[in-house]
Amino acid sequence: MKSTPLFEIHKNMNAKFVNFNGWNMPVWFEDLKQEHLHVRNSVGVFDVSHMGEIEIVGSMAEEFLNFTFTNKISDLNDGQARYGFFCDKSGGVIDDVIIYRLSKDRFFICVNAGNIEKVFEWLKSSSNGYNIKIKNLTSFYGQLAIQGPKAVDCVSKLFPSSNIKNIKKYSISSISDLEENYVHKLKSPCPDGYSFLIARTGYTGEDGFELFVPNEVLPDIYLLVLENIQDIKPCGLGSRDTLRLEKGFPLHGNELSEKLNPIEANLSKFVDFTKPDFIGKTSLQSILRNKKSSLIGFKMNDKCIPRAGYKIFSDDREIGFVTSGTFSPTLQQGIGLGVINESFSEVEYIEVKIRSDKKIAKRSSYPFV
C-alpha cells in the first residue's frame, strides 16, 4: 500500500488508518465527529496528498481542455479555477476535477486518487493533433486542505507576505512565504516554477484552502501549520467524507462513474452545452432529453444509517440504490444520496432496505446543512 510523506507523523499522532484506493490514509485521529464539527466551527487540516496533479502545458492547452472538459474553460483568467468532468464518448464520468488556469498556456488539474493513471492515459490518448505536453506531477506534489470558517484568517496570519485574503474563491496563487523559506531546501524543485501553490477550494463546504507543495518538504510544512495555527485539528478522510456528504458534493465512484453520468447526477450546470463540441457532448445531450434516473437526497425518519449500495424501494418496487450514506454529525440523523428511476423522481417518501428491514426516508433537498 502507498502512503504519503506524513505517514510517520500521523502514526505518532495515533491516527487510525484506512486503505483508500490503495493508499494507507488516516481515517480519523481521535474522533470522527469531533473532527467534523471542528471543521464546521473552527479549522481543520487534512492530508490529501493521495490526490493527483496533472499539468497541461503548451500553446494549445486551452483548446485541448475545451474539447476534453465538460465545463467552460475559455473564459477563465489567470489564477481562476473551474469544476467539471472528463467524460467518455458515452457520457460516463472518467473523473470529476478542478482545473486551475495558471497562465494562458499552463493549466493545473487536481485529479481523484483512484483515477490518476486512467485520466493521464485518457488525456494522452485524446491529445492527437494538439501541440501540448501532459505532465503527471503527482509524485512531486503533496496536498494539504485547510478548511473551516477560521481558515482564511489563520492562513493569512501564517503567510503574511502572500496576500492570502485577496485570493478569491475558486482561485489559485503562489505562496511567496513558502517559496522564500523552502525552495532552497528542495533537491528537485518543480521544473515549471510553481512549487508552492495555494487555492481557495475544498471539499468540505467550508471556506478554506488547498495547498499544493512538494512532497519533499511536506512534513515541514504540515508541522508548521499544526504548530502555528491556533486551534487547528488534524482531520482524517472519515470526516472529509461526512463533511462533503452533508453538503451534497458528489464522490467519484459513488455518485459519478463511467456508468453514472453528470446529467442524471443533477450536475448539468457543470456541463456547458453551448460549446461547439467536447468529448461526450452528443451522448450527454441525448441523456438530457431522456433522463432515465435522478440523484436524490433523503433523510431517514428513524435512527438508522443508510450506506452505499443499499436498495431503495417505493411501495415494494425496487426503484434505485443508495450512492452515499452516513450519520450526519451535524443533524444527528441518517442522510443519504441515491439514484432512483426517473419515473419515481417526484415521490416524497422512499424506503431504504437496511439489513432485513425497509426503513422510511423523506426526500430532502441538499446541501443537507
Binding site: D31, L32, K33, I305, T326, F327, P329, R355
Partner: protein
C-alpha cells in the same frame, strides 16, 4: 493498546463472552469498539429469539461503517441491554461492563470450549 480481559472468552468476530450462572453475557471487545470509532447506533435481537452459532444477531454502526454482530454460541436470548440502544456510546466507554449487549441461555455450555481464551484473542488482534 486495547484492553483484553483474562477472565473472558472471545470469538474471532471480536465478541466477548462471560459466563453468568446458566446464561452467558455477550458484547464486543475494546479492540472492536476502537476500530469502529464512536458508535451511534446498535441493532439487537428480541428476547426469546433463538440464535444459531455464528448467526447474525444484530449490527453495530459508527458514522464510518457498519459491522454485523455474530452469535458466538447457540442459544436463546434471555435479556438485552436497553441502555446501549439509547446510549450506544456506552459500548465505546465501557465495552466489557455497561456496554454489554445481550444475554443468552446456551443450548450447550460446552460450546464455550470452542471459543478463544484471552491469549488466543490477543494473538488474533496482533495478527499472529
Amino acid at each position: 493498546m486495547s484492553e483484553i480481559k483474562d477472565d473472558l472468552k472471545y470469538s474471532s468476530e471480536h465478541e466477548w463472552v462471560k459466563v453468568d450462572g446458566d446464561s452467558v453475557v455477550i458484547g464486543i471487545t475494546d479492540h472492536a469498539q476502537d476500530s469502529l470509532g464512536e458508535i451511534v447506533f446498535v441493532e439487537l435481537p428480541k428476547v426469546g429469539d433463538a440464535l444459531e452459532r455464528s448467526a447474525i444477531f444484530g449490527a453495530v454502526e459508527s458514522t464510518k461503517s457498519v459491522s454485523d454482530l455474530y452469535s458466538p454460541i447457540a442459544g436463546e436470548v434471555t435479556e438485552i441491554n436497553p441502555l446501549v440502544e439509547s446510549e450506544p456510546e456506552l459500548i465505546n466507554s465501557s465495552p466489557y461492563d455497561n456496554g454489554w449487549m445481550i444475554k443468552i441461555r446456551p443450548v450447550n455450555m460446552d460450546d464455550l470450549d470452542a471459543l478463544l481464551d484471552s491469549k488466543g484473542y490477543k494473538d488474533l488482534v496482533d495478527g499472529k
